[in-house]
Symmetry: C2
Subunit: 346 residues, 2 copies
Amino acid sequence: MIRTDAGALRRFVTDCYLALGLPPETAALVADTLVQADLWGHPSHGVLRTFWYAARLRSGAADPLAAPVPDLPGAALTGMDGGGGMGQLAALCAMDHAIAVAQDHGIGAVAVRNSGHFGTAMYFTRRAALAGCIGFLSTNASPAMAPWGGTENRVGTNPWSWAAPAGPHPPMMLDIANTAVARGKLYAARERGEAIPEGWAIDASGRATTDPAAGIAGSILPMAGHKGYAIATLMDVVSGILPGSAFGARVTGPYVPEGLSGVGHLAIAIDIARLRPLAAFEADMARLIADLRATPRAPGVDRIHYPGEIEAETEARLLAEGIPLPRATADALRRDAAALGLAAPF
Amino acid sequence: MIRTDAGALRRFVTDCYLALGLPPETAALVADTLVQADLWGHPSHGVLRTFWYAARLRSGAADPLAAPVPDLPGAALTGMDGGGGMGQLAALCAMDHAIAVAQDHGIGAVAVRNSGHFGTAMYFTRRAALAGCIGFLSTNASPAMAPWGGTENRVGTNPWSWAAPAGPHPPMMLDIANTAVARGKLYAARERGEAIPEGWAIDASGRATTDPAAGIAGSILPMAGHKGYAIATLMDVVSGILPGSAFGARVTGPYVPEGLSGVGHLAIAIDIARLRPLAAFEADMARLIADLRATPRAPGVDRIHYPGEIEAETEARLLAEGIPLPRATADALRRDAAALGLAAPF
């Protein structure tokens, strides 16, 4: 494990994307989303992914020069063509347009078609919260789970996020995928020779299993059983079918270098001040958070956190301490950057 | 178990509410929501609850004559005062106003304060789907789970629903509470002398338990662990704090006869035709459903259902066969109706 400064890492990843042909603002945006995920303590969505996106830019699967614009600028609801480019750019354009429109109409929504994987949903909903809005963002994704009762992956993780300003505190944020667990946890359990809990996976024949190898050969289960299947399916409807994008098994993920993504999103912003003074809303948020924190605690629990609080605290710590990078991640970044003629800052 | 005709049951429950002072349209609405829950195979939200609401009307905790109107009629986003009345009426007014406004602006949203328990969320979002819209509805509710790591109930089940038209099929609908399991399942396990699965409940000290009695004395866990806590908390924010209603432990539930409810809701409708032809959306929905159904199945699974399909099939069956009522429910309804001078049709 090495540690690297967030600012230096952001500049390095930006330089990589500039070398790959992304315009300066898009390069800086994608780099910032990746470093931010690392800062929040979610390395699975961090700079580890830098060259996964790079492969899709190189193959032509993602258009570096896409410039998403709303179909109906200024309307409370509009579609937007992501142009087959980086999903981060489409999600940013959609969320920012929704926020601007909410300031006119009270609510704004943008349904995005022909986009790509955008990384971490709460990167974008946080922008709504910082602008005094409630933010919602959903996306569909490539197949990662079987329909409830099925044995073949036909439904994506289809993450979704809500965020809200929280007065004196960093925004309250929710950002979840609808699978019970990340696939990486099965690989880790297999490495350690441990069983996995029931409810994580089924084997290739569709039977419940606690054997990580059988689960890897089979399928990850949805979170909360059939509820997670239902949520993931509805998120596909509002993110994929509503804007007229790809859906179900037709969506291509960021883990393969080729194939148009077809991912779609739905972004909504609600202007809080249209309903009540923002200060009154924020005072209630502070009261809710105080109530949650003051709850009697279970044995071994030091503190009760509100949603998004652990991420905000991790960010503050890693800005001071530096971002930890596993040696394998650091080596791969060094090697891939060297092929672009760039030197890593770590 | 007895069986009773849905139409006769609806008239009977309507008559009960008329005798309790609800205006005819509200009486018919509340009766229809309860009978519809029974028809969907959700008796926990069915006519079993008729006289729970009655107790709150009698005590004055719920105002039978409340008449919710939007603060800003015609605006894409508006608040609405539920008037401390029946939540079913407020939810209906909010959803129908959101649908009407979506036909003007593409999207419509209503944030409801000072409402009450509305029963089954998808009763209302289905109206959006039947009107060619995507519907969303959330509510907060009285405390039912501890914050993650806590031992005292301070967060409600806070249900939420999405619905969408599904072309040749009944609407696709999602309607979930954020608890791992209904409290009634712990009572049932205790009756049978069986252990409950891990992940359902904690004991009074906050420790995980598989003993249903310890779980009853303790607290139900959220669905999907910390994710369910985060979802429930954000649903409190958008349903309770956003409209300026009660939130957290300040919300009064429908299970007690006294105390202003303070429940709030958020209703959103999105007009699909603003984004793409409704027929194209519905053709994609039919394709998605066909893909889900055609997935290879696990052993013992006869069919794969889309979200909301089981409810639609149950409704068709019970309309033909009659609604089953447990003897205890039937006896209680007969007794309480007799006190109003009314005879049950079963």
